[in-house]
């Protein structure tokens, strides 16, 4: 299915893009990460346990079921304030 994938901060720099449209068989965050690593090994940083996933503006777990059209954002630990 087609998803919009976004990367922030250090992950954005690592992936070399802020946003991309992908067409993937992945149905969860975990599967999407595996698929992205398969495509380009630089994506291995997404596996780090500190990476947070925000789907359609909500923080979700990696097991969260994805659906077509979702915006999936990969975020390093927050460091605001």
């Amino acid at each position: 299915m087609s998803l919009t994938v976004r990367y922030f901060a250090a992950l954005r720099e690592r992936m070399g893009t802020a946003e991309e449209a992908v067409d993937t068989p992945a149905t969860t965050g975990t599967e999407l990460i595996a698929w992205l690593i398969e495509r380009d090994s630089r994506a291995n940083v997404l596996e780090h346990p500190s990476t947070r996933i925000i789907v359609n503006d909500e923080i979700v777990s990696r097991k969260h079921a994805l659906k077509a059209g979702d915006v999936v954002a990969f975020c390093p630990p927050f460091s605001g304030g």
Binding site: S50, D57, P77, F78, G80, G81
Partner: protein, 156 residues
């Protein structure tokens, strides 16, 4: 109860924000505030703050609303800057007004502690050696955990 949250690149005047919250409600005896500034030292030249537009504002609103549910507040304000900031410039302002002092003080501590781990901001430091992303600090997680239930996960 008034909530005000804002993400902006423009500088702000903490004193003005404080005074804007004061004396607006007659049963309101306490005003507390926290403001964070770019701290110099270790060769730091400047900071750059990235965020997740749209999601950040929702996260800040959620944090202020949580504070207002937990304490008897009259106003809660969170202003956070993004973009490039020099040493000494303000980064964040958090304020609360309440009938009683403990509520105002605790709400401010809550909002700044939780903001650090629950709002999608990222800091990059520039120094003489180049640039690097600031790593999240374990003590920030602990400070936020003081306030949040173990299993509660705040949505962004």
């Amino acid at each position: 109860m008034g909530i005000r949250v804002q993400v902006q690149s423009e500088r702000f005047d903490a004193g003005q924000l404080l005074n804007a919250m004061s004396g607006t409600e007659s049963d309101c005896g306490a005003v507390a505030s926290f403001s964070g500034q770019v701290r110099g030292g270790k060769g730091l030249i400047a900071l750059e703050l990235e965020h997740y537009p749209g999601v950040t504002e929702k996260a800040l609103l959620r944090i202020a609303q949580h504070a207002a549910e937990r304490w008897d507040l009259r106003q809660a304000t969170i202003i956070h800057r993004v973009g490039r900031m020099e040493i000494g410039e303000e980064i964040v302002f958090v304020g609360a007004t309440a009938p009683h002092r403990r509520a105002a003080l605790d709400a401010v501590s809550f909002m700044i502690d939780v903001l650090k781990t629950q709002a999608p901001f990222w800091k990059k430091e520039y120094d003489a050696n180049g640039e690097h992303w600031v790593e999240a600090r374990g003590e920030d997680d602990q400070a936020a955990a003081r306030w949040l239930h173990e299993k509660e996960e705040m949505s962004a």
